[in-house]
């Protein structure tokens, strides 16, 4: 017997010997199929007493030590990004993926930042990504891998800027899974789904919280209030 069969048969044996009335194998299989098919939601934190969702999202993003801003359009987003770079004395050089929403960014004439595309080589100061969603419950950005938004951009730069469209904000994780299933199909996901809440940090030295461990030191979140 190979290891796979050994483990599985040992599990079955343990379950059968301990549960006198273990349901029939068909019933068990059905229970599993049903659960995966219907993926029931459990207890979901009630956010109704909180402020409206966007305010909650902002609150949670800021609580995660990220900075937050909201703009009316992608045109305005470009200006906000440039302003952010200037404010933090960062070079006007940005790496980003091929997300077509980036095409709507209108950089100011003359001082257009230098744009690089493709995955990060670890030497970037600033990377820009577009999130697929945002989770208001915890102020979390949901990013999916692909040429539009390569995953390395989420982790290698010192400063990470994430755009998220206001209409993609979800109340909770469960709503976010719903959106992912709509995007990728049932039971399928992009290679990587990153849920990001704030800049990287460590408390491994005397439990002192320090921002900027191996991932970005700074995270700037921009909510774009523009219907696509």
């Amino acid at each position: 017997m190979n290891s796979r069969d050994k483990i599985l048969s040992n599990i079955r044996q343990s379950l059968t010997s301990s549960q006198k009335n273990l349901s029939s194998s068909d019933e068990r299989k059905q229970a599993v199929r049903r659960r995966i098919g219907s993926h029931p939601r459990g207890i979901i934190p009630d956010l109704s007493s909180k402020h409206k969702l966007l305010t909650l999202f902002q609150e949670k993003v800021e609580a995660s030590e990220a900075s937050y801003s909201k703009v009316k359009s992608y045109v305005d987003a470009a200006a906000e990004i440039q302003q952010y770079l200037r404010q933090h004395n960062l070079p006007q050089r940005i790496r980003m993926g091929k997300d077509k929403r980036f095409k709507k960014l209108k950089w100011g004439k003359g001082d257009s930042p230098q744009i690089q595309t493709g995955p990060s080589d670890g030497k970037d100061f600033v990377c820009l990504s577009h999130a697929q969603g945002g989770i208001c419950e915890t102020g979390t950005l949901v990013l999916t891998s692909g040429p539009d938004n390569p995953t390395s951009l989420n982790f290698l730069p010192e400063t990470h800027i994430i755009l998220v469209n206001k209409k993609d904000l979800q109340e909770n994780y469960e709503d976010s899974w719903k959106a992912l299933r709509r995007g990728f199909g049932r039971g399928k996901l992009s290679r990587t789904v990153n849920m990001i809440t704030g800049p990287s940090r460590s408390a491994d030295i005397e439990q002192t919280l320090i921002l900027g461990a191996h991932g970005p030191l700074r995270l700037h979140v921009i909510v774009v209030d523009e219907a696509k």
Partner: protein, 474 residues
Amino acid sequence: MKISSPEFKNNACNALDDNQLQGALRHVRKNFVKKRADARRDLPEFDALRDSARAIKDHTLAHLDLYLEHYEKKVIESGGKVHWATNAAEARGIIMDICRKSNARTVTKGKSMITEEISLNEFLEANEIQPVETDLGEYIIQLRGENPSHIIAPAVHLNMDQIRDEFRKAHTHLPAERSMDEPETLLREARQILRDKFLSADVGITGANFLVAETGSSLIVTNEGNGDLTQIIPRIHVVVASIEKIVPTLEDMAQITRVLARSATGQETTVYSTLSTGPKRKTDEDGPEEYHVVLLDNGRSSMLGTEFSEMLRCIRCGACMNHCPVYQAIGGHAYGWVYPGPMGSVLTPTLIGIDKAGHLPNASTFCGRCEAVCPMHIPLPKMMRFWREREFEQHLSAPSHRRNLTLWAWFAKHPSLYRFVTSIGMRILAIWGGSAKRINWLPMAGGWTKFRVLPAPEGPTFIRQYQRAKRNAR
């Protein structure tokens, strides 16, 4: 990993005498406990979520074979490979094969207790592959040649001076006179050094907090981002996970992650929660070309259905050790193997044997706080007691202790003799205690009187006095 659990008592005494360690443990007592309490207070649904999380794990464990099969199918569909390992040696062999096939020289590692359980680092080193721990805490203890002393805060036993010394010793290419007075400086230095390792590693190995059957994904939750760099930069990503990590769906995963970080660090969520599903896709520009999952049993399938079954609900948050008075006093190393604290006191004997780990389930006051804070409602004291029973049945407990217990139990079962003997005994102790009402030293109770006085009995026993009063009243 060398097992020093049989020397637990010695280890504990050394730990109690270690001033640096005692200083570091103060952080555990103060920070972790308060942060969890705050997080719990801020989420009214916390206890309902714990019940929900328990129900999910119980359901999953009752259908574990089927969920594993479904999970495997989904991993294969997404282009990944699943390897099954019944024990540690098999798991190491599988990982070695993967490394050999790709001519790997260096391996970056995300923080993973399961790779500690299979002693992966020693094995890789012996096979001339360099494992690089990338979690800051893990990196520090790797430099020191130590094991983690806590399952989520591996270097919690160290203070800043010790870490600084270690960095000076290890990072010899940096100017010796550089300033290293702030934790920030140390972190930046580690970031710089590990950055190159991330970029040059051939294989990245991570654990998994959850395996999602619905999608065939592995989830890791981290704060530093090292786990993510480990699983996206190298050409090969290997996930090592034990079989009980599985959950049915993304919804189920979210139920449990809601209590995980809150119980562990008091965060609502960790900075990064990342689902990895298979290798990179055709159009992807980054991500690993190969995705392997090593599913480890190592005795777990045999725990199912036994009195230790509920231990398989454990999500490794560390709340039990953070709140344990014994862990708070001695830290994690004294336990002598991979898993410290209450969860380790239950799990370790299943993995290395009760003959070696007998002290662990005994070294508990049964204060019950571990169970009270466990997000998965694992009855840890009850299971430690089960181990004590096994030990007692197998005659592994100290003969003198056994004799005393049997003798005492015999008297307890014979009330009039008990009355007679205890009356004499108490009378003697009462006289010994004198007017101060305390005994400073008592043979046979040296463990007690070494550190405390023994309060003397007031005089005749209650039952004697009560009987006398009754007689007089008549």
